[in-house]
């Protein structure tokens, strides 16, 4: 039994599932909201006429340039924290559903090495998050073009794509820990609670000196959500890589052990 066969079946399991479409809709909505903010900044009087621009919004958006680099900067920030949450939702669904739907016991008693399932599911998470990232970038380009922002260059676009996919890779590195919580708690709620907890941790530690050493804060810092990217180096990269290794090892350990079905 090749791992490609197992991967094929894992992809088949996505068919007709609503969650895939919901995640794509959420990412499109994020790009649309960023586009709306840019349009409000570009044409505040029109936004005010439509009741979109209140006093707080004027203060928040005032003074920022209205161009592609600023707009795509918003998109990168959204891709960081949004990606953290989305990767958790994906991992929770891909791993937790087997327990929530009672199919884990069928899967784990198949004549297939159990690590194949773990590996294939992680690949599915990677493909899903990669496609979502590409989709968000495409949606952002369409939104930016619709509101006719100035300053689009190939290097700005390439840099944004690089940062977005880099953040997606970091979010993916955190996903196996969510997967482990999903298989440990045998469902969706545990991993989603854990994901919310990591967002809180990202926010709390992102404002402290420990930010570069906490994987979820590193993603927030890299996205630029906490200001210009500083203080991140090889140590932070090792923390993110270590999170992936730890999460994968824990998930594998759980699935390889016998006492793990419903």
């Amino acid at each position: 039994m090749s791992i490609a066969t197992v991967l094929g079946t894992e992809l088949l399991k996505l068919r007709r599932s609503r969650i895939t479409w919901i995640t794509f809709a959420v990412y499109a909505a994020m790009a649309a909201v960023a586009g709306l903010f840019q349009w409000m900044m570009k044409d505040p009087s029109a936004a005010r006429t439509l009741g979109l621009m209140g006093q707080k919004a004027t203060l928040a958006f005032g003074g920022q340039p209205v161009d592609w680099p600023t707009f795509l900067g918003f998109i990168v920030e959204m891709g960081g924290l949004g990606g953290l949450l989305m990767s958790a939702v994906i991992a929770a669904w891909v791993f937790g559903r087997e327990y929530a739907e009672g199919t884990a016991k069928n899967m784990l008693a198949l004549p297939v090495p159990r690590w194949h399932f773990v590996a294939a599911k992680i690949v599915v998470c990677a493909l899903w998050l990669g496609l979502l990232t590409a989709w968000m970038l495409a949606a952002a380009v369409i939104a930016g073009a619709l509101i006719q922002l100035p300053g689009l260059t190939a290097s700005v676009l390439a840099s944004t794509a690089g940062r977005l996919f880099g953040l997606a890779a970091m979010c993916l590195a955190c996903a196996p820990l969510v997967a482990w919580v999903a298989v440990q708690t045998r469902g969706y709620f545990g991993p989603l609670g854990f994901a919310i907890g990591t967002l809180v941790l990202a926010s709390v530690f992102g404002h402290t000196g420990w930010g570069p050493w906490v994987p979820w804060s590193i993603i927030g810092l890299c996205s630029g959500a906490a200001g210009p990217v500083t203080g991140l180096g090889a140590g932070s990269a090792a923390v993110v890589a270590g999170t992936f290794v730890l999460g994968t090892a824990l998930t594998l350990g759980h699935e390889m052990g016998a006492d793990n079905a419903q």
């Binding site: 088949l12 068919r15 739907e101 009672g102 784990l108 008693a109 004549p111 297939v112 016998a258």
Partner: protein, 245 residues
């Protein structure tokens, strides 16, 4: 009797959960080609035993041999010869009957024609494009049985296979299991609470109580004045009384 002549052989099989012995050292000997009913009250240890047979729960003690081999020695080779159905009729709810079976087909390396074969066998063809979430409980049960039969296993391990089936469905499944045993030599190890069904279908039954195999009965040798159900209730009630005294 060598292990090769047995489809299932366990020695001192036990599983403890903390201080509680869910299964307390049972020796099972199920011959190839026979239909063996595994009976017990709720909590007697039936499902834990079945899970241990399939490698889903690790035994605290004892050995298991399936079709002459140990799961520990060659898990994949052994499991590829076993069809199983544990507790509930689980399927991917948003996938169709055909897609659910296709996943099983790919993961067991079965030919594409196997899907059509089991759909015909379990009368699921008319539902092949229906998602599992829209199937009745009985048809979900059929789907689980179809999944278990897809790779033409030599041994079927079934936990409550008739659960949710209507009377006609129960008779149909009984006939199917009997035919698989008689014509194809498939061994069936099944637990069920439908004792009348087990009596009609099984060659032998094993009764588990409090984690111990307390009796094995050849269904053909049951006294005419006592049904299997009466025998089971009498035995387990006596044991319960003994425990409380």
């Amino acid at each position: 009797m060598t292990d090769q002549s047995l489809a299932i052989s366990t020695r001192g099989l036990a599983r403890n959960y903390g201080d509680v012995a869910a299964v307390a050292g049972i020796d099972l000997h199920v011959r190839r080609g026979e239909i063996y009913g595994f009976l017990g009250r709720n909590g007697a240890g039936k499902t834990t035993t079945i899970r241990m047979l399939l490698g889903l729960v690790k035994p605290s003690a004892g050995t298991i041999s399936l079709l002459g081999s140990s799961l520990d020695d060659d898990r994949r080779a052994v499991l590829s010869r076993i069809g199983y159905f544990v507790e509930s009729a689980a399927a991917y709810p948003h996938l169709t009957v055909r897609e659910n079976l296709d996943i099983q087909r790919r993961l067991t390396g079965s030919p594409p024609a196997a899907v059509d074969r089991v759909m015909d066998l379990l009368r699921l063809r008319e539902y092949q494009r229906r998602t599992a979430s829209r199937l009745s409980l009985g048809n979900r049960q059929r789907l689980s049985l179809a999944r278990a039969l897809l790779h033409a296993p030599e041994l079927l391990v079934l936990d409550e296979p008739a659960n949710g089936l209507d009377p006609a469905g129960i008779v149909e499944i009984r006939a199917l299991l009997r035919r698989l045993s008689d014509e194809e030599g498939v061994t069936v190890f099944m637990s069920s609470h439908l004792l009348d069904e087990v009596e009609q279908l099984a060659d032998r039954v094993g009764i588990i109580h409090d984690g111990r195999l307390v009796e094995e009965v050849d269904c053909r040798l049951l006294p005419a004045e006592e049904t299997l159900e009466e025998h089971f209730l009498r035995l387990t009630t006596e044991m319960l009384r003994g425990e409380t005294q």
